[in-house]
Subunit: 304 residues, 2 copies
């Protein structure tokens, strides 16, 4: 990392009990004596794919780059521990941009008690690319995986879906606190966060679990954003296929789901939208009771 | 990470005692019960800056992207534990490129007993960017830092310097085993790996240590590559300023350095090239005994 930026960063990083040695050496040093298992995740975000730097404040971009990674920890019901940030900056205005990215990253890191342990700063002739790697600590009965959904489990989701393109894909709140609390208080069987889309990430979850699912489309919580888009797609279609909601899809045993929905233990809405099935297929039932195949649609990184 | 690549990767990853859950979920799960402290480092490498993908086999590129990170662990005298790989791929030929990168990464990971825990795969209209994050475990008397050099300590380096552009910047062997062994057997005060250049990284080390150094230029081990370049710079100038040698600069107390050089406990050459001084400046003494200021020169990521 460039020395000027390291100095800037060192002045602004709050002390953290985990951090024995912060940015500026060849690696950071972390205290892990109390951590038996950790989870590790990385996400790289790029200009013109995950954000449009020509239209968006770089602080929001920096915030998103951290938030999507925190959302991955939430999907595992893991408590954030530490992270590193690597950037490839355009040559012109790089220092200013790096500072702005960190101005978006640091408050969110502090909010989630995450130690920013270090990073790597490069410049090149390309557009901005940001890679954030986090480690976290499993909570409750251990890391929440994708492969634990069982037939009969209820599909419970946090928040609402669709239309994140209007701004929520940048400013969403990762469901870290919700995931940790729910995983400590209830017996969750599986979980995933919605980055690609509600339908695609549900498909990922059933594939890994070797089961299927049936979604009651009338139950799907549709965000106001999805209603506002007002284009050729219905609000429900937006909710099922837009992606970047960064809400959680959870597999919860029926009696646990019932208790969870009655107790409403977190600040965000929890909604049961269907159930997992033995038959390894995805189905939807509309408000007329008509059953049809659910084809996963949404955002996927394609390359040839 | 794209599902096809994850499948390919899952088939090829050897089991690893640390890895409770590998690629394919929202995060990997690592066994850390025996790890009291860990080091964490990230390096992002980009096409046309750190390699030229139009001229170089992508396997060598993948290998380099991991090797530079292993070199950072070596600089801390840390044993590799686990790593994640994030890539931004050009849209055309992305899958083939990702596979080739991993074909360079996996054998090196196995050689250093590093668990590949996961990754993130994206495509975009830009050139290739690769970000590797590693965690490692300190060895011996703890992580080797940049700030521990003391006046009177000898400057000991591994290997030889200069001309890495001829190919060694891609195919170098990170000095992981050497660092761990030396740190266990001798009292090392400080260390850094040479990425920017011998003179610049020595400058980083003395700055962090609050001391200076004097280099006997006649002692500097010059690589054959530096002699082969045959351009306007002398082989010594190449050795001092080329960078990407990924050798180690160590600060070692005089009697320890003497013992180390006599015992030659590692397969690569160890050379004493000068000593650290109380006066916080860099000097060099040539083979005529002429003393002059040493100006750090080499590779630095510049951005405005």
């Amino acid at each position: 990392m460039e020395s000027e930026l390291i100095r800037w960063l060192r002045d602004r990083l709050p002390p953290h009990p985990l951090l024995r040695l912060g940015p500026g050496d060849d690696a950071a040093v972390l205290e892990m004596a109390d951590v038996d298992r950790c989870v590790m995740t990385v996400d790289m975000l790029t200009d013109q794919v995950d954000f449009d730097l020509s239209k968006v404040d770089p602080r929001r971009v920096g915030r998103k780059c951290l938030a999507v990674n925190l959302s991955d920890l939430a999907a595992m019901a893991a408590r954030p521990l530490a992270g590193v940030v690597a950037v490839a900056l355009p040559r012109s205005g790089g220092m200013e941009l790096a500072v702005a990215l960190y101005e978006g990253i640091l408050p969110l890191a502090e909010r989630y008690d995450l130690a920013i342990a270090g990073g790597d700063t490069n410049s090149w002739d390309g557009l901005l690319a940001v890679s954030v790697t986090l480690i976290g600590e499993p909570t409750g009965s251990g890391p929440l995986r994708r492969n634990g959904a069982r037939p009969g489990d209820r599909i419970v989701v946090t928040g609402s879906f669709g239309g994140s393109i209007l701004g929520r894909h940048l400013d969403f709140e990762p469901r870290v606190h919700e995931a940790v609390l729910l995983n400590e208080r209830y017996d969750l069987h599986a979980g995933i966060d919605v980055s690609d889309s509600l339908s695609i990430d549900l498909a990922h979850l059933v594939t890994e679990s070797g089961c299927g699912a049936i979604v009651l489309t009338d139950s799907v919580p549709i965000s106001n954003d999805a209603h506002q888009l007002n284009d050729e797609k219905t609000p429900l279609e937006h909710a099922m296929s837009d992606g970047e909601d960064f809400e959680l899809i959870l597999a919860v045993a029926p009696e646990q789901a019932e208790r969870m929905l009655a107790e409403r233990p977190v600040g965000v809405p929890l909604t049961e939208i269907g159930e997992f099935t033995a038959e390894p297929e995805l189905w939807q039932v509309d408000n007329q009771g008509v059953r049809s195949k659910l084809t996963p649609r949404g955002w996927e990184h394609r390359f040839t």
